[in-house]
């Protein structure tokens, strides 16, 4: 686990050296973080679907952990996005940056997921309700994306796209390295969290049996 994390860190240091001159180096943290967060939310949705399908309770913890880690990456995305917005547009928040608005909605949505988990007693019903809510989240991502694209027209049409062809080869390489590093780090954190949460639930079960 530590090895994976250190590899991820090493990946992170490479772009710093290779691209000293770039003012928008935060791009290499911001965009991979967003993609990692999407991947984690998607993974959570997949696990939720498996839970409803198979009824196996271990998927509940996996889905929960994925959302937990995903929310952390969501916060990283929001924070780096705000810093980037401050540097390039002079404001901390801009409603015309559609990815950031989407992340704000998702942040609210998945924070409510935590509220839901904390206010329902543990058990199969909570597992199923959380799974249903996590599935709603996966559906909400494309729907809100569409909504924000629509909304842009009547707010203001500042478009800020940055797709593959605009990137030089070396930049793309560093971008991919950073993405791989972040995904690895997220995976490592996911495994650690999952192990911790499993231990926790097993302990609780043990305590209940002993009591």
């Amino acid at each position: 686990m530590l090895l994976l994390a250190s590899v991820a860190l090493a990946f992170w240091w490479v772009p710093d050296d290779a691209d000293q001159g770039f003012s928008q180096r935060i791009f290499y943290i911001h965009v991979p973080a967003a993609i990692t967060a999407y991947a984690l939310f998607g993974w959570a949705g997949w696990k939720a679907l498996r839970l409803l399908w198979r009824g196996d309770e271990r998927y509940d913890l996996e889905s929960y952990t994925a959302i937990h880690v995903g929310l952390m990456w969501g916060v990283i995305t929001l924070a780096t996005g705000a810093i980037w917005a401050k540097i390039s547009w002079g404001v901390w928040w801009s409603w015309s940056e559609r990815q950031l608005v989407l992340f704000l909605i998702l942040f609210l949505f998945y924070s409510a997921y935590f509220m839901l988990r904390y206010s329902v007693d543990a058990g199969p019903q909570r597992a199923r309700m959380s799974a249903v809510y996590a599935l709603f989240g996966v559906v909400l991502i494309p729907v809100s994306f569409l909504a924000i694209r629509l909304a842009e027209n009547f707010i203001h049409p500042v478009v800020f796209t940055r797709d593959g062809p605009q990137m030089a080869g070396s930049m793309f390489l560093v971008f991919c390295l950073s993405l791989a590093g972040q995904v690895a780090l997220a995976g490592a954190l996911y495994q650690t969290e999952l192990a911790g949460k499993r231990l926790d639930s097993r302990l609780r079960e043990l305590r209940r049996v002993l009591a």
Partner: protein, 215 residues
Amino acid sequence: MTGYVQDVAALARKDFLLELRTRETVPAMLLFVVSALVVFHFALPATAGESERVAKGLLWVAVLFTALLGLTRAFVAEREQGIFDGLVLAPCDRSAIWLAKALSVAAFLVLAELVAVPAFALFFTGVDAVTIAALALANLGIAAVGCLLSAIAAASRTRELLLPLLFLPLAIPIIVGGVGASVADDPGRYLAFLGLYDGIFAIISWASFEYVVTE
């Protein structure tokens, strides 16, 4: 299939009868929506010009929060009187419970809007047919998503506290579509978006309701 329709009709009839006898939810919604519009009037700066477009947005806020008020009440009787156990044990498809509840919530919402829209026209500005159509579409989406989340919230310890937290992030696309249809020059896209939202979320709510109520 006819059995399913009969189940839904019976369950919805139960909700209407209950509301007719207790008169708890609908009068509260009516009063709330008018009060909210009055509050909005004083919250808006009294300058002409842009304020008509802004006011259209306020209509949507009022409708959304009124719906929230109705939704928090939607499963209260079921939980408090223990009707839920009977419903879950009843020999009908569980999704019928959701569909019947969504129909009754949508009907209550229509009643609230029958008051809200004239009141809005009186206080602020007239409402065109496109906005009415958008409201009708939004009602379906609100009722579909809201009833599922209301059932979830009713099973939690915090109940009324939890529902707005669960519901509002999911309602943002409805507001985008609704306000867009009310103020934009080409409302067709927004109406189509609202229809899409209704379709998607109605299907997954319908499919997943069973998992929420099974104990």
